[in-house]
């Protein structure tokens, strides 16, 4: 982790994230009140996202704690990916996308004028649904982030190996660092993408259904990895798979169709005793 000022603070998140953003009161001062185990690293306030005239997210307010795994679940099209992409401003790349409201990263609104999305993305890494290694060697794939971020001055080789190690891939590819990343299996490719994302030592890692294209064995490897990563990084993960969310996350946010955040709480709470009937229906498979 890069240095970051401020002593440890305890922040309540258990009461935020209702789907009534118009009240907005709890979140306004939220970062400072209530005791909790972990500090808030990301906070969205009344976040609306539009694609052209269609609204994909409606007043999302939530606080994501540091060094924990936060899962975003919900039926297809409810805006999970959209929310994820608005955290590191990947939505900027979509012409028709428009974001309103605020999103704070360590207290800085990432939608402020003076924030360069490129600089932001260097702090917040991302892993995508379909593994997308570059058509380069395994080594160059991992080193790519270091190079573009100008972090290739020190021992690149060392950094690459560490990242592959952390991504639980090093053993499998140790002798073939020069062969193409495209020659790996799907699960290995996804771990390569994770290694690439963590090589530059970001603070947050966003993952958009990172295991949905993989077979069960590869999936469980990725799940193990996500849990380990949370020891050092903040992980926000989108998943379609309820069991997966239950297994690996500390917090769970449930989005429902229409782009609302219906409930956000500790994962245990959500899966055992959700407050909203709609959430219960969704989790027990009644729809979605």
């Amino acid at each position: 982790m890069t240095a970051n000022g401020g002593g440890p603070r305890t922040v309540s998140t258990s009461e935020t994230g209702r789907s009534e953003p118009e009240t907005g009161v709890e979140t306004e001062e939220a970062p400072l009140d209530g005791p909790d185990v972990s500090e808030t690293i990301l906070e969205s306030r009344d976040l609306d996202v539009y694609y052209g005239d269609d609204q994909a997210l409606q007043g999302i307010s939530m606080e994501i704690p540091e060094q924990q795994v936060t899962a975003l679940i919900g039926p297809s099209g409810c805006g999970k990916s959209t929310f994820l992409r608005s955290i590191n401003r990947m939505n900027d790349l979509i012409d028709v996308a428009r974001v309103e409201g605020d999103l704070y990263f360590r207290g800085k609104n990432v939608y402020d004028e003076d924030v360069d999305p490129v600089a932001l993305r260097r702090k917040i890494g991302m892993v995508f649904q379909k593994p997308n290694p570059f058509p380069k060697s395994i080594f160059d794939n991992v080193a790519y982030g270091l190079r573009v971020q100008g972090k290739d001055d020190g021992d690149v080789e060392e950094k690459v190996r560490t990242a592959l190690e952390r991504a639980a891939l090093l053993d499998e590819v140790e002798d073939q660092l020069d062969s193409s990343g495209l020659d790996l299996s799907g699960g290995q490719q996804q771990r390569l993408c994770i290694a690439r994302a963590i090589a530059t030592d970001p603070e947050v890692i966003l993952m958009d259904e990172p295991a949905s294209a993989l077979d069960p064995v590869a999936t469980s490897k990725i799940e193990d990895l996500v849990e380990e990563l949370a020891e050092e990084y903040t992980v926000v993960i989108v998943t379609h798979n309820m069991q997966q969310a239950a297994r690996i996350s500390d917090k769970t946010a449930v989005f429902l169709t229409g782009g609302e955040l219906v409930e956000f709480d500790d994962t245990n709470k959500i899966f055992e005793n959700p407050e909203h009937d709609r959430v219960e229906d969704y989790i027990t498979g009644k729809f979605g």
Partner: protein
């Protein structure tokens, strides 16, 4: 939260430098794009400016002359003969293209039908297809040499309309075949199945179902290829297009001498007298106009009949 001292600092200086580099690069890319556009505009403007005042109705309807003054509209009144123009060459080009169209229509579509509908995935098929793609890259002057040796000399057609159009046919055949193949491939297989299921023979299926569907695409391809053929100079030059034609070639006697617009333009452009530059430019404007019309027709057909819009 905004009052928080731990506000996150973005390390922006490195990014800024890169952004500047990016802007320079974008400027370069944009400038490069403009190079092509500017060249196109310069070319068209240059040709039109040079042709201005020389492109008259008479230019389109009279035969060429040796004397440059004959082309000058200000002299039209006091010439011993009629004004100079490129009428025989315009007609010659049209005849040339008509014959070429007929030949390519049969050969090109026939070959495409064979490759798409009859041929299996055999070595011979792959060889023919590789051969076609190679032929598409053979320089046009080599086709001219072929036409000279095979049609003009060996088959004794002489420096004739038929030799010219056969040469152009071979030149554009590869493109026509490939484009016709694409059109045939776009006809859904379910149409063929339906036809066979109704007890049609292969030929009935092709003639009644496949071809009618593919015709707009094939026509578009042929017209676009013909618009390339009409501007080709090197091949017809090698087979000996004439530049002193008084009367247009005779379509009923395709073994007679022929002229064509690009050849005449080449002849004029070679002449050093300044005024011939204007005559050549006027010829170019005529050629480009014909070309533009052909392209417009092709685009019209494509838009009109293409089910994909």
């Amino acid at each position: 939260m905004s009052t928080e001292t731990s506000e996150f600092e973005f390390d922006e200086s490195a990014v800024k430098r890169k952004r500047q580099l990016g802007r320079v690069f974008l400027g370069l890319c944009f400038a490069a794009t403009m190079v092509g556009i500017v060249a196109l505009v310069a070319l068209l403007v240059d040709v039109i400016v040079e042709a201005w005042g020389w492109l008259t109705w008479e230019f389109l309807t009279y035969p060429p002359s040796q004397i440059v003054e004959h082309y000058d509209p200000s002299n039209y009144g006091d010439l011993p003969t009629g004004p100079g123009g490129m009428y025989p060459m315009i007609v010659g080009s049209i005849y040339l293209i008509t014959l070429t169209a007929i030949f390519t229509l049969f050969l090109g579509v026939g070959a495409a039908i064979y490759l798409e509908e009859y041929a299996g995935d055999t070595f011979l098929t792959r060889f023919i297809e590789a051969n076609i793609s190679n032929l598409a890259g053979v320089p046009s002057i080599v086709y001219g040499l072929l036409g000279l040796a095979v049609f003009v000399r060996a088959l004794q057609t002489g420096q004739s309309l038929i030799a010219g159009s056969l040469t152009l046919t071979l030149l554009i055949l590869p493109i026509v075949i490939v484009q016709s193949q694409e059109s045939l491939r776009a006809v859904p297989d379910s149409m063929r199945q339906a036809s066979y299921g109704a007890g049609a023979t292969k030929w009935q299926t092709i003639r009644n179902v496949v071809l009618p569907e593919a015709v707009p695409g094939i026509m578009t391809g042929i017209i676009l290829s013909l618009s390339r053929a009409i501007g080709e100079t090197a091949p017809i030059l090698m087979v000996g297009a004439a530049t002193t034609l008084f009367a247009p070639p005779d379509l009923t006697d395709p073994t007679g001498p022929f002229g064509a617009m690009p050849m005449q333009i080449f002849e004029w452009a070679k002449l050093p007298e300044d005024d011939f530059q204007h005559v050549a430019a006027a010829g170019i404007v005529v050629l480009l106009t014909v070309l533009l019309l052909m392209n417009a027709v092709a685009i019209y057909i494509r838009n009109r009949y293409d089910p994909r819009g």
